[in-house]
Subunit: 202 residues, 2 copies
DNA sequence: CGGCATACTAGAACAGGTTCTTGTTCTCGC
DNA sequence: GCGAGAACAAGAACCTGTTCTAGTATGCCG
């Protein structure tokens, strides 16, 4: 199954024009998501705004969910790379994880519509989006694990703690989207879960 | 805001025929969900099978999500009332919660299509479905809290533990739906979260 | 240059959730 | 029994995600 053949440029490699299109599409999606959330990201309008035909949009992103999960990965990547440029403050794993997750939560909730769009896409993801979803989770997991670890050496259970915290984090966001808890509750619940999960892991 | 007025029977109270329609609708939804999951529950077919007009279906359940979340509450209610009729085995909270959640998980996964339909509906629920979603969560939370407690007296943190475990439970179901983990992993992950969360609470 | 696959555009077409319209039936107070 | 309003049936209509069709442009290999 090596590189397929010789047609056009080799697969995987996009021309500059294509990178440009892809980027315009993601930007348009983010803008629309920010304006009115998940429902306001309408594929026809994304296509129009990014100056591509509807069919082309679907060539780049095979569904609305793919598009939005990709956009989320894009946003998390920015957040994560900003994080890696500094040392996480805090003397205990809980403190550091709280710092990181609070920052991420606040940063996302500054733009509730955008957050709603991304979280809903994550939830709606079926197995055809598994790869993209995995990218998002690994980005997020990486941030949490780094925070647990701090400057100490890795602990084998770190990944498990991170996974539970990530689950709670997503679940609380959903509860918030579902109007079941307030924006303030989101953070209170997450904080309490962090302490609960990391209580001995000082 | 007392009882509105005199028209028809008083609000809230359904006639026998209406209870019957509602029940037929839920049954039809469950049957279709069981046949092909969320996508196979098509409102036109639910209406047809339950012998009501599409408009009537929408009078009873204002959206597909409402319908399916209601169906889930319905199923959990059955499960919960079966549980209340016996003593939960196990000497520790972990053991009891494992017993309950494993039973619930297995019972649901016996019918993966149905489970998929219900979980997806839970995920898709926005604030207009808050009441129904709350019912599902409280049903589930009640089962977990009862298991934590066992025959001892209640502990103030029980609800918090139950909330985290429920979050993990839902999140793992989603991961499974999303094809990111296997059916076996679902249970393994939940079990490990139970032990993690309840480790001191013996 | 001549083919030829691929990418793209424009727009129609399809599918299923939701809404709306029109006419009928049921319920209840009088 | 009668009239008013709620509930219902039947089906058209609408909206948006997705797919399909026809035609055009582009890049590449011989």
């Amino acid at each position: 199954m090596a590189m397929a053949s010789t047609t056009t440029t080799s697969p995987d490699v996009e021309t500059a024009a294509q990178r440009d299109r892809r980027s315009r599409i993601v930007q348009a999606a983010l803008a629309l998501a920010s304006r009115g959330g998940y429902d306001d990201v309408q594929m026809r309008e994304v296509a129009e705004r990014s100056g591509v035909a509807l069919g082309t949009l679907y060539r780049y992103f095979p569904s609305k969910v793919h598009l939005l999960v990709n956009a989320m990965a894009h946003e998390l990547e920015r957040m994560s790379s900003r994080l890696q440029r500094r040392t996480i403050p805090g003397d205990t794993p809980s403190a550091r994880v709280e710092w990181v997750l609070e920052r991420a939560t606040r940063s996302l909730q500054k733009d509730p519509n955008l957050t709603e769009a991304m979280i809903r896409a994550m939830m709606a993801a079926d197995s055809t989006v598994a790869v993209e979803v995995a990218a998002v989770r690994s980005q997020m997991g990486g941030m949490i694990i780094a925070a647990i670890r701090g400057d100490r050496e890795a602990h084998p259970d770190d990944a498990e703690y991170a996974a539970v915290l990530q689950d709670v984090w997503f679940a609380r966001q959903i509860a918030w989207l579902g109007g079941r808890i307030s924006s303030a509750d989101v953070w209170r619940d997450i904080e309490s879960a962090i302490r609960l999960v990391l209580r001995d892991h000082e």
